[in-house]
Symmetry: C2
């Protein structure tokens, strides 16, 4: 069966001028998928025509009449914009016409709308945002990256199970290692929530490595790093800020006078190779795990390559049956008596 | 009056082989200070002789009979090692013989011993670790970097007041801006503690910029960034890990084949200039703010230049009367009714 992905073609900083070419690149590379392109029909038709892809057999345009702004209030987006490209794309997953959706729109609106429309998987209290970062050894999956600022130990255990399943399914790695993000050899090791989460993880069937510190993220100490959304978001944004500053400093130094410019010229292949290794576009696409449907969030500023990466991620997760595997994993944690009763009722996690 | 600094000469990964030369460099640059070099007398005499500095007029050796190990249990260090170089150095501050002390030893043991011996300043519930990071615009003071994993809004307000005073005093900058580390435009903006801390900061007399995100640290958006010790430690260690990975990747790419090596050779001045801008040794030395005495923690792996930087920081803070200024600032917050009553009693914060 072909995997069908719904694309919010209007989302992100650049809208269809990026999403449409990215969709065509994606289809050229992955013939086994087809796309439902959701957005303002005129804008999409114009971009498809520009790319000489009007009537592309892998693409069906699904009309939407409005767009969720990048800075729009989340409640407004969820309650009043029922015909936005974001909402329609998620509705297509809900109705079963698509197996996954991708949006570069407003993160809060996407998570809020997805929770409202799709509901959470049985046994999951809170969906989380799981992203991928480069490491010395390859890559690491980190969650939560910002959906849940306050978490309980139970939430962190659920995040761990979901992250491990994601790696198992998509990377085809058996028993991925899980690290709990904590602080070092200070007087008080970790806060109360993390301490209790560590005990739960130790008692679980997961391949728990133990505590990791911030630098372990990039060392690639574990396959998965678990933390609450506040800490995860700070770690992610701090990294973005530092990488940008370092990149700018290198650029500035290479522009300082004719000798430096010559050195830059000679170094171009080296600099390109270096940039390729850290290219965030190759890691684009964070998965909103824990929902009854696959939703992948692309970075708002994603370019063509980055957005195509996010589409590939969604396709891979859908074709590997990610959510069935997550549901089975959570069921297993419940079977082990690892999770508090509150989320046992399959409907308990369903509130938006 | 000469500023006297007590130096735990045994602390850190390298001990006297680094601390003694660093002390001599420091004294050569800052004639107005003198040092009490605390440690095993034989080890210190041998290092001083090696450097041709036996009988240096700016140095007095104060004997200690034991050393706190880098991985030593904190309670053991505090309770049983009463004659360690770390403890004796702190005792010298307590007794008034030194105006500040510097150690590259175990952070937890240093904070624990300093709290036990010196007690906290009136009105301060919890001392914090305040470090300095490079930014696009210069530098930023960040606290807490790991002493307090769980914080109340009151604690964060006290950290803000202490960090702002540190910048005001040492950098001689009037009304430094304070940012509260928070997460972005997600559905739930910040956790409960941070939200309340934001309200307190807004109502205070401090120059509160508002919320900042992780990337604002390196953008240099504010002079001070305030967060709890868990988040601060993760941000710091994540940064260390990313910077190290990026540095290693650059090195690896420049070693890949003869052309890349040639490019590296041509680029040497550029690479050196880049490294100088980010050189963590120039930012070494985190201040344990909120104690009745100035204590500066050097990175354990500090080399000669880095340890000398930490000594310079201690000297600057002591000569500028940092702690009187912090005490006055906290008194002012109390006068404004900004802090809960618990810490009003000057003795309330004195428990170890």
């Amino acid at each position: 069966m072909k995997t069908v992905i719904a694309v919010d073609a209007m989302g992100g900083d650049h809208g269809p001028s990026v999403t449409v070419p990215a969709c065509l690149d994606f289809l050229a590379a992955r013939g086994e998928a087809s796309l439902l392109l959701v957005g303002l029909p005129d804008a999409l038709a114009s971009e498809l025509a520009k790319a000489g892809a009007a009537g592309h057999p892998g693409i069906e345009v699904v009309p939407a009449t409005e767009v969720v702004g990048m800075d729009e209030d989340i409640r407004t987006a969820i309650r009043t914009k029922r015909h936005s490209s974001m909402r329609v794309a998620i509705d297509l997953v809900k109705s079963g016409r698509a197996q996954a959706c991708v949006s570069a729109g407003n993160t809060g609106a996407l998570m809020g709308t997805a929770k409202f429309v799709l509901k959470t998987l049985p046994g999951i209290d809170r969906p989380a945002i799981c992203g991928v970062l480069p490491t010395r050894k390859g890559q690491v999956y980190v969650l939560d990256l910002g959906a849940n600022a306050d978490c309980t130990p139970d939430h962190l255990l659920q995040f761990a199970a979901m992250g491990a399943t994601l790696v198992e399914v998509v990377e085809e790695r058996a028993r991925p290692t899980v690290g709990l993000l904590n602080i070092g050899a200070e007087e008080i090791k970790g806060n109360e929530v993390v301490k209790k989460a560590g005990e739960l993880l130790k008692a679980s069937h997961l391949n728990f490595h133990g505590n990791v510190e911030g630098d372990d993220i990039y060392k690639g100490t574990t396959d998965v790093v678990v933390c609450d959304g506040f800490v995860g978001n700070v770690a992610l944004k701090t990294s973005e800020g530092l990488a940008k500053m370092m990149g700018d400093f290198i650029k500035e130094e290479y522009m300082r006078g004719p000798l430096a410019r010559l050195a830059a010229f000679v170094s171009l292949p080296v600099i390109r190779a270096f940039r390729r290794r850290l290219d965030h576009r190759r890691y684009n696409g964070a998965t909103l795990v824990g929902l009854r449907g696959i939703v992948v969030k692309s970075h708002g500023s994603a370019d063509r390559l980055a957005f195509a990466t996010a589409l590939g991620r969604a396709e891979s997760e859908a074709s590997h049956g990610l959510n069935d595997r997550i549901a089975a994993e959570i069921e297993r944690l419940h079977g082990l008596g690892m999770l508090a009763g509150s989320a046992r009722d399959p409907r308990a996690g369903a509130a938006a």
